[in-house]
Symmetry: D2
Subunit: 346 residues, 4 copies
């Protein structure tokens, strides 16, 4: 059994890690870290876990945890993991960091967008960007995995084949993304109160959202050259789910079959990426509670553009599910272990 | 492997059976019956099942199905199962009927509340009312199980210990129940459109809801004498979940510990019934997607009444989950097999 | 023009006062009090008021306000109004207090349920309980009106005719109430976050909710003797609306027409109380944004009980609308002035 | 008093016309047309109108209605108005058509996108496209007004100043729009059931939505040359509201002040168009129930693009409110008459 410790286990992503790991045949949770709820029963913080989790919340002592755990998940605010990680810890345990600390290779980009100093830039090179479908082999050998962001996972997987095959104009990519409210976290803020979110939709972080450089960096690798793009997130009155609608100009006239072929090339054998049938648009309800990403596209011959759509559950494939997928790879397990639950509907 | 056939697999309860059975280690689905969608890919009707279910919807030929299946789930409108079941079918296969056809022992009560003729009253005696926690031994030997209603499961389990131990006045029970909208089914009706249900709450079927006699009959057995009570369902703008708030007069002064002791007596060892800690009210969000029933109570010393609350997921413990729990018992499996998934939150 | 000052104008009830008064032909707002947002543009706190309200939030200086305003609305936490009101203020201006400070005539009951000391018990006798339909004449002459609570308005108006005419057993009244989330206020609490409230329903304050003694006191006056009853509020995932489902035993056999006659007796000429047609259940969606209360009842002959239902918008008739209705009466205006807006649907 | 007849009064837009006209000081409704509910009380179809509307639903006899009404609103499916209108009717009454029949000047474009034959192309030239802010003078003289679509109103008003002033590349406009579910109408379809819409978001009609040519035509006039663009609508789990997020490449470097100046130029004196403060994104909650359109923009210097956002209530400014605004203009009234209600929040 893999002994797993979770730091930040009382955030939404942390709790989802708990849910998934409880059903994982090869892992057990040995540490429910939560600075905010130390010594409180975990099941008092999350009533769904009553009689399923008999543990108290603990502090975030990473040194001690490294002794006890084979893998540590840090579902913590930006800056935490970078400030704690060191050689000794990495010599004893593996880390899957759900924050942004090790996602961007260029420390100056990190510091510019996140507006905090990076405390461990020396690990940036080693850290593997854990988008499993694109970095499977590296993840298998990694000690430190940077678990991708929710918007980024959806955006990158939706566009990757087109960028990689240079079928779209890399200078004219526009990503319009929509997220459920769990993405905003469990902090007590007026803006996230039920009555403020319900019955409304808005864009936020326009031209400034921190997932932008992460998408640009990863798609840039696929492109073989830097990419600058527009990314606009929106807040949707629902609990879970991200939908990405991306727009790009095709570099020449392609048929449906042409495009479909490249999606098949990259994703046909990917368990968690479902290329929908022609004409079917991804909907977040069809992936809720699962680790799937549903993708599809429509060619608009009138404008010469392609509209690519992707849907995932932001706290599963966009956070905790992908983190477990990374853990599976790091420990030589079947990548889908503990993650084959069908989406829950309605 | 238990070969399972589902008639009515494209209703919400039927689809939940699919979801649960896909994760069941000892069962496989051999028949996706759906009169409305014959020959259509199941995954076109429920996009969550894309790449998980590779089958077409079939008709509801129970004769043929009896040859192929070890168990048939009928998630069908009232009257269907009663009109199809016969000795030959029951000699070949087991049936878990999710409709009301075999829930009420008295055919005249059935015909009065459901306003249809019962076509197979000869099986009423044999049929076992499959509220597993209360009828475990009978279910194990049954060929034909009447799977309880959603409101009834929640109402009965909430009140059973108090009635059985004669701690409340059996003539003054009031059950105020609230249900998510999946309970209304997937039929295309104006009243169930998004904009009609959203941002509203209403009572319906006041003094006439068909789950009333079912609750009365089962609690009557516990009481050792007939019970007549008030039951009022409400429609709540959410997908899943039932909350029951029941009111009853205590026959004498009892302490919290007195009452708690009888709940423990009946439920302490029940995996799926969670008696919450003192002061914690059941909430439907804590059971969503799971087979749990959360129960608790508050004594109001001012009025001498007890307020009992129960919460479950109407399409799991209130329908498909309990049906699988019954199947497990009927086939000698661990009752919780395939049903230990933690609740999904948020 | 009546000059109106609002203290607590940035809570949900305060903002609704602004919305209603903006459309009132005989009133203008001269003071937008908000301790939390002093000096901030009101329209930055509530974007709907952009270009409609050109004012900054001010402090809660009641002395100064008394000089400027003909009427002060205190939409403030319990204790505020009682701690501020004095003879000088009351000599200069009228007060409609939306808090509970002057609703309960017995100061010991107030202090027991609210757990704070009452700072101005000397005004309790003078204060008029402003349930306009029942206290119209007193309100007209009042300087200090205690605006009723949201649950209480709905509960009292639903049950009043039956209690007043002694048609039900006053010792066996059970009120099961359901409220939208705006009733919880705009404070930043985890329990009221979107993801915590959405897709769930729960009871809260069971046997301890502070609206209980208020309902009991007012129905006790109608009854001519004290009443003790059960009141259980529930939180519903919607913005606005309260639904009350009340249960009571009829003291003898009554026909529909008997009961209907007494409802007509009290409410036939009431503009804001709508007695629905036989068989129609109140739904909160039909009163949203309006000052209406929809009521109806069902007689359950099987149990000898009557189920009474009432629906209103908790921040209109349950708060700001009723406050303006009181203001209209206090200033000799048509009671419906500024309040005849039809409900908004969907 | 203007005598108004409504054909299609039981759809969501029709009902909103009723709500608005009930509060209009210069209009009264003389005909509640509804083919589906003939002879039924209007208030049985819409319970909010109980005791406010005392009328039965009538058929859609436009001949008879022309005799009785000064203005007819046709809130009907595509094709209805075109098949009914004739010279005699237009000689007796004015028409505001809420369908698409007279929005597109080129009949072949209409027939291509709507896939029905146009029965009255002879009135296309006369018909005025009633986007009041842009066509005020023509509307004043019109007999037949084509009331714009909901998505189109929001899209056009958001982009108009930039197109008109040639500040953006007219060949690279991308409009990503999000709508509440009332836009799907009140027809009983499985896809619009509560449980199907709730907790999900999806794109639909990708590259084929019928509002596309309408936006293109109107923006083409502003541009002085044809425009072809991408328009993608999305369904959002909320009742009301449309949010448009539009992307375009600036033809040169502009400052915030440059862009703001052109928005001010066109909208500064428009009552219903609110240009938000710098940095504030439009949110649908701030316009709900009102006739306002909130617009704003962000310049992304990294990509040289501008992101323009607009929010309105799809059944007010996107349908019934704008229809009344048109009526006001056609009858020489103040354009805002009956339409100054503040947005309802929460």
């Amino acid at each position: 059994m893999i002994k797993a410790g979770i730091i930040g286990s009382t955030g939404y992503a942390g709790q989802e890690l708990v849910r998934i790991l409880l059903g994982h045949p090869n892992a057990e949770i040995v540490w429910y870290g939560s600075r905010s709820y130390i010594d409180k029963d975990y099941s008092e913080v999350y009533g769904n876990m009553f009689e399923l989790v008999d543990a108290k919340c603990m502090d975030d002592n990473m040194e001690e945890l490294a002794e006890k755990a084979d893998v540590i998940f840090t579902a913590t605010p930006q800056g935490f993991c970078a400030s704690m990680v060191n050689d000794e810890i990495l010599s004893k345990t593996k880390i899957v960091d759900l924050s942004a600390d090790f996602r961007l290779k260029d420390v100056s980009v990190y510091e510019k967008w996140y507006k905090i100093e990076h405390k461990s830039p020396q690990y940036l090179e080693e850290a593997v960007y854990g988008l499993c479908e694109l970095a499977r082999d590296s993840v298998k050998k990694a000690r430190l995995v940077a678990n991708p962001g929710c918007y980024t996972t959806c955006s990158i997987l939706s566009l990757y084949p087109l960028v990689k095959e240079h079928m779209i104009d890399a200078d004219a990519i526009i990503i319009d993304a929509k997220s459920g409210t769990s993405g905003a976290g469990r902090g007590a803020k007026v803006a996230n109160l039920y009555c403020e979110v319900n019955e409304s939709i808005k864009a936020y972080g326009v031209a400034t959202h921190r997932h932008t450089p992460e998408i640009e960096e990863q798609l840039g690798y696929a492109n073989g050259a830097p990419i600058v793009l527009n990314f606009t997130p929106h807040l949707v009155p629902m609990n879970r789910g991200i939908l990405v609608t991306a727009y790009a100009s095709l570099v020449q006239k392609y048929s449906y079959e042409d495009i479909r072929a490249v999606y098949d090339k990259y994703y046909k054998d990917e368990y968690f990426v479902r290329i929908l049938k022609k004409g079917v648009c991804p909907e977040t309800r069809w992936v809720e509670g699962s680790n799937f990403v549903d993708v599809n596209f429509v060619i608009d011959e009138r404008t010469g553009r392609i509209i690519v759509m992707g849907a995932l559950d932001n706290i599963v494939k966009g956070a905790a599910g992908q983190a477990v997928q990374n853990m599976n790879l790091m420990f030589g397990l079947d990548e889908t272990e503990g993650l084959r639950m069908p989406p829950l509907f309605p």
